[in-house]
Symmetry: C2
Subunit: 278 residues, 2 copies
Amino acid sequence: MKATQLWFTEDQTPGYKVQWRLREVLHTEQTPFQELAIVDTYDFGKALLLDGIIQVTEKDHFIYNEMITHIPLSAHPNPRRVLIIGGGDGGALRECLKYETVERVDMVEIDEQVVANCEKYLPEIASEFRNPRARLIFEDGLKYIKTVQGEYDVVIVDSSDPVGPAVQLFERPFYEDVARALKDDGLMVCQSESPFFNIDVLRKVVTALRDLFPVVRPYLAVIPTYPSGLWSFTLASKKVDPLAVPRERLKARDTQYYNPDMFYGAFVLPEMVKRAIE
Amino acid sequence: MKATQLWFTEDQTPGYKVQWRLREVLHTEQTPFQELAIVDTYDFGKALLLDGIIQVTEKDHFIYNEMITHIPLSAHPNPRRVLIIGGGDGGALRECLKYETVERVDMVEIDEQVVANCEKYLPEIASEFRNPRARLIFEDGLKYIKTVQGEYDVVIVDSSDPVGPAVQLFERPFYEDVARALKDDGLMVCQSESPFFNIDVLRKVVTALRDLFPVVRPYLAVIPTYPSGLWSFTLASKKVDPLAVPRERLKARDTQYYNPDMFYGAFVLPEMVKRAIE
């Protein structure tokens, strides 16, 4: 589309919105779980939207997907079995498979249509669904996690925002189930929203996890297409403290954002974030 | 204004724009140098715009102003004389005066109307123009810097984007003048734009400074109202390497973003930024 200007708008707060100019809306559908769209933006490449919110773009997906994966997988001394809850775009899965110790990644995605459409429209991100070390399970992560015990080294909770299908993934009963699904030296990570716009979400997640895990460490990355750019993840661990991981154990991993220095740098919190979760 | 929706739009790239809902446009004027506006936004408080670009908002100004000030002033072992070029909102000046060693801050701002309007509309940020340790000079920083030699411990180049009056502040001849204005153990810092949208600016600044200073260290902060959120500064030093500053010399300084851990954390660069400036 050239003559007609087509813009996608995301209301990030009631008084603050972001707009992307589109070449084309490639696909829309109402799945059993959410409204799904694939759009082609001028400046960020193709993007997946769920319920009108940008989830992933070709231009900056690597930041989120590397940071939700390489921090926990580099923190764990020997990650062999990994569970991803959500992660339907396939980016976290792709990063997990860069670890030669990883024998199998189970990915539990509630919405099969997310996987199907990412494979079709975002093949560079969704590149590893057919990898023999990957096992896709189309099921509600909340239900699946109750069926496993002491099975995983690392659990990655790669969810959308705490509205719609992902609400309970931000609540304590779910984290109890994750703790049970982990081995005795296991660790989990979840995305915990923008500390700039939604510090309450981060505070709630950290508080709930501190009741269940001896080591809880929030960390940050800058993701331009997410509200405010400042994005948080929270790592919770039964044994290993990521800040005690020796530098010489960390490797370069064919990444564009993550690197061994960032492994430590990401845990440095701005003063207002540090104070808010004390 | 309630019934009428009033929105301010900033085109951050040709296909990506950000909009803030406004309560009111408080002031507009054409100064001899630029178009100046003060607006009252719903979600970021009052804001200063120059030539249609958001410079500073009440909600997140502290991030930029702390990071352009506390990193260089904490890196220098004994900052006594500081020069700010630009900085008309007064935020960097306010932060400089938190250092008890600082005897005088000279602030050279080309546009007196920026200072006058910030003092009127953003008094919490522009709070120290009348401090006895502050000296305001309304002059072109490019001209002023040629008149001084070996005078400053720290020079802070707090400029707007490299369009309009600030273009030459991103070029080598100016940096040569800054080097001359610094004492033998002095250091400078400048804002060097978004590495996500404008990596060429950062690359050019770093390259020019590496020709003139033995130590050049870019660092980052997350500033939600600036394009992409990811913002760079570049520190260039004649002697001190900030990464060699001992932890015990760093103090807490009544800040909301900066803290002693952030002093080191800010220098950790994402892999794509690191590679781009190699």
